[in-house]
C-alpha cells in the first residue's frame, strides 16, 4: 500500500475512532461515545450497502429493512427472555440472510428503476409487517430490557459496545476489501459495468449478484443488532424508506465504489446533521440543498476528492440504473 492521501485518511480516521473514547472520557463528554457508536453502526450498514451499490451497481432502496430485521432479532430474543450476544448475532445474521435470499431472488429478476422500486416495495412490506407485530409493540415499537453479554464482554457498557462496534466495522472493511478484489468481486464489478459481456463470457451473473445481495444484507443486519443494543429500543420506523435513502446518501457522499467512502459518508452526514441541528431546528432545510449540490457537483464524493485528479476519471463507476 502506497502512502497517498487516501491511505493517510483511512489511517487517521480509524486511529481517531480508536482513540475517541479516551478523548470523550478526558473532556467528560459521555454523549460523544454514544454519538460515535451510532456513526460507526450506520457506517457499518453503509459498508454493506456499498458492496452492492458501489461495486455491483444495484441500487437497493430498501436496505434499512435489514437493519430493522437485525434490531428486531435482538428485541424478540430479549422479549422471550433469551440473553446473550451470540444468539443475537446468530438470529440477526440468519434472519437477515434468509429474508435477503428470498427477496433478492425476486428483486434481481428486474433491473434499473424497477429494481429500485421493488426493493422499496419489500421494505414497505416489512414496515407493515413489524407494525402488525403487536406483541413486539406494533406501531410504537418496544423497549429492549436486559443487557447483552458477548462472552466476557458486557455490551450494556457504552465503551464496550463502542469497541465491539469498532472491531466489527474494521472487520467488515477488511472483508469487503478482500471480497471486491477476489474472483467473486471481479464478477460483481463486471456485471455492474457490462452485464451482456459477462453473459457472453459465460458467467451466470444472477447467482453471483444474489450472493452479493445476501452478504450486503447480512452486514446491515449485524448493524441492526448493534443499533438495538445501543438504543435499547426498536420500532417499525427503522425500516422506513427515508432510512434506506439515508444509507444511499452515506455511500454517495463518501464516494461510490471506494471501500472507505461509506465510513466517511456516514461521518459526514451525521456530523452535518448534528452541527446544523445546533444552529437551527430546521436542519433538513439545509441538508436537502447540500445533498443536491453534492450529487450535481461532487459526483465522486469525499473519497474522490482525496484521489489525485489524473487517477479519478475511471474509478468512480455509474450504476446500471
Amino acid at each position: 500500500m502506497r502512502l497517498d492521501l487516501r491511505t493517510i485518511t483511512v489511517i487517521v480516521v480509524l486511529a481517531g475512532l480508536a482513540l475517541m473514547p479516551l478523548l470523550a472520557w478526558a473532556v467528560d463528554e459521555p454523549y460523544w461515545l454514544r454519538f460515535w457508536s451510532r456513526v460507526m453502526i450506520l457506517a457499518l450498514a453503509a459498508v454493506g450497502v456499498n458492496l452492492i451499490l458501489g461495486f455491483g451497481g444495484m441500487v437497493s432502496f430498501g436496505h434499512a429493512m435489514y437493519i430493522a430485521i437485525g434490531a428486531y432479532a435482538v428485541g424478540a430474543l430479549r422479549f422471550h427472555g433469551v440473553e446473550g450476544g451470540l444468539p443475537d448475532l446468530l438470529l440477526a445474521v440468519g434472519a437477515g440472510a434468509l429474508v435477503a435470499l428470498i427477496i433478492g431472488a425476486i428483486c434481481l429478476r428486474t433491473a434499473g428503476i424497477y429494481f429500485i422500486m421493488i426493493t422499496l416495495a419489500f421494505a414497505q412490506m416489512t414496515y407493515f409487517f413489524f407494525i402488525s407485530q403487536e406483541q413486539y409493540g406494533g406501531d410504537d415499537g418496544m423497549r429492549i430490557e436486559g443487557g447483552t453479554r458477548l462472552g466476557p464482554l458486557d455490551l450494556s457498557n457504552d465503551a464496550t459496545l463502542y469497541y465491539a462496534t469498532f472491531l466489527l466495522l474494521c472487520g467488515a472493511l477488511l472483508v469487503s476489501w478482500r471480497l471486491v478484489n477476489s474472483r467473486f468481486g471481479m464478477v460483481i464489478r463486471g456485471a455492474r459495468s457490462n452485464e451482456q459481456r459477462m453473459t457472453a463470457l459465460g458467467f451466470p451473473t444472477y447467482r453471483y449478484r444474489l450472493t452479493a445481495y445476501v452478504i450486503s444484507a447480512v452486514i446491515c443486519a449485524i448493524a441492526g443488532a448493534l443499533l438495538a443494543n445501543l438504543t435499547l429500543y426498536v420500532s417499525p420506523a427503522y425500516t422506513h424508506w427515508t432510512r434506506s435513502g439515508e444509507l444511499l446518501i452515506m455511500v454517495i457522499l463518501g464516494g461510490l465504489g471506494s471501500l472507505f467512502g461509506p465510513v466517511l459518508g456516514a461521518i459526514a452526514l451525521l456530523l452535518l446533521e448534528d452541527v446544523i441541528a445546533h444552529f437551527t431546528r430546521h436542519w433538513q432545510l439545509f441538508l436537502g440543498p447540500i445533498l443536491i449540490l453534492v450529487v450535481i457537483f461532487a459526483r465522486e464524493g469525499l473519497f474522490g476528492l482525496l484521489t489525485p485528479r489524473r487517477q479519478r476519471s475511471h474509478t468512480a463507476g455509474g450504476s446500471h440504473g
Binding site: T110, A121, Q124, F128, F129, W241, L248, L285, V295, G318
Partner: protein, 307 residues
C-alpha cells in the same frame, strides 16, 4: 347492508384511485419522456395542498383556494425543473433519486418553517358539502363524488390531449423513442418543461382536492409518493393507460382490502390478533401485487413499445 358498505368502499376506492391517477399521470410521463425519477413529485402534491389551504384562509373560499393551487404548483414545478432537475436528465437514476430525495427534505422542512408542524384544516367548498343520494339507500359525500368526477374528466382530457394533439404526439413519441423527438427538430427542453409543468399541476390539483379530506401537514406527500410509484411500476413506466388502470386497481384493492380483510380474518380465525394482522396484510396487499406483477412481467403491465 353489506352490499351498501361494499358499494361505498368501492366508491372510496375509486376516489382514491383517481387521485392516484392524477399523481401517476405526471410521474409516469416525466419518467417516460425525460427518463427522470422524481421522488419530489409527492412534495408538489403537498405544496398543492398547502397552496390551497393558504389561499382558502386568505380568500375565505375553498374553491378559489383550489383554483389558485393549480397554477401555483405548476409554476413551482417549472421553477424546480429549471433550477435543479434540468441538470439531471443525463445522469443515472441513482443521482436522480438522491437529488430529488434532497428536494423532499427541503420541501418538508420548508412547509414546517412556513406553516408550522401542526396540521392545517381546510374546508370543503360550500356548495359541495353534505351528502348526495346515488341510489336509494346509498348516500355518499358530495365532495368525494366531485373528486371522482374531476379525476375522470382529467383522465379524459389527458387521453384527448395525448391521442389527438401535436403535443400529445410528441409525448407519445418521446415515451417510446426519445432520440427521435430530438431528430424531429422539436425544442426538447421546452417540451420537457411543459410536460413537467403539466405533471406538477396535476399533482397540485390532487393535493388541493384531498386537502379537505386529509390533514395538510409536512410530509403528507411521502406516503402518496410511494403509492404513486407502485402504480406506475405496475402500469408500466411511461404508459398513461397503464397508469390509469393501475391507479384504479391499487385504489380499489387498497381501500376494499383495508375495510374487509380484518373482518374476513376475524371470521376465519377468531383470534385477538386477527384484526391487526388483517390490517397489516391489507397495507401490504398492493406491495404484494406489485412484487407479483414484476415477478411475472418485469417491466409492468403495459410497457411502452419500442424501448
Amino acid at each position: 347492508m353489506s352490499t351498501t358498505l361494499l358499494l361505498i368502499q368501492t366508491l372510496n376506492g375509486l376516489q382514491f384511485g383517481v387521485m392516484l391517477f392524477l399523481m401517476a399521470a405526471g410521474l409516469t410521463l416525466v419518467f417516460g419522456i425525460m427518463n427522470l425519477v422524481n421522488l419530489a413529485h409527492g412534495s408538489l402534491y403537498m405544496m398543492g395542498a398547502y397552496f390551497a389551504a393558504a389561499a382558502t384562509a386568505w380568500t375565505g373560499n375553498p374553491l378559489l383556494g383550489i383554483l389558485f393551487a393549480i397554477p401555483a404548483t405548476l409554476l413551482l414545478g417549472v421553477v424546480v425543473e429549471f433550477i435543479t432537475l434540468r441538470t439531471l436528465y443525463q445522469r443515472d437514476h441513482l443521482d436522480q433519486v438522491l437529488c430529488t430525495f434532497g428536494l423532499i427534505l427541503f420541501f418538508n422542512e420548508l412547509a414546517r418553517v412556513l406553516w408550522g408542524s401542526a396540521a392545517i384544516p381546510m374546508a370543503i367548498p360550500e356548495a359541495l358539502t353534505g351528502f348526495v343520494t346515488i341510489i336509494p339507500g346509498l348516500i355518499y359525500p358530495k365532495w368525494r363524488l366531485a373528486i371522482i368526477l374531476v379525476g375522470l374528466l382529467v383522465a379524459l382530457l389527458l387521453y384527448l390531449l395525448i391521442s389527438h394533439t401535436r403535443l400529445g404526439m410528441l409525448i407519445r413519441a418521446g415515451a417510446s423513442n426519445r432520440p427521435m423527438v430530438g431528430a424531429l427538430g422539436v425544442n426538447i427542453s421546452l417540451l420537457f418543461t411543459l410536460v413537467f409543468g403539466l405533471g406538477a399541476a396535476l399533482a397540485g390539483l390532487a393535493g388541493a382536492m384531498v386537502a379537505p379530506l386529509l390533514s395538510v401537514e409536512p410530509g403528507m406527500g411521502d406516503p402518496i409518493l410511494i403509492l404513486t410509484f407502485v402504480v406506475i411500476v405496475i402500469g408500466g413506466i411511461g404508459s398513461i393507460r397503464g397508469a390509469f388502470i393501475a391507479s384504479l386497481l391499487v385504489g380499489l384493492i387498497d381501500t376494499v382490502g383495508r375495510s374487509f380483510l380484518p373482518a374476513l380474518l376475524r371470521e376465519l380465525f377468531q383470534t385477538q390478533s386477527a384484526n391487526t394482522i388483517g390490517a397489516a396484510l391489507a397495507s401490504m396487499l398492493i406491495y404484494i401485487l406489485m412484487a407479483a406483477v414484476l415477478f411475472f412481467r418485469p417491466r409492468g403491465l403495459f410497457p411502452p413499445k419500442g424501448r
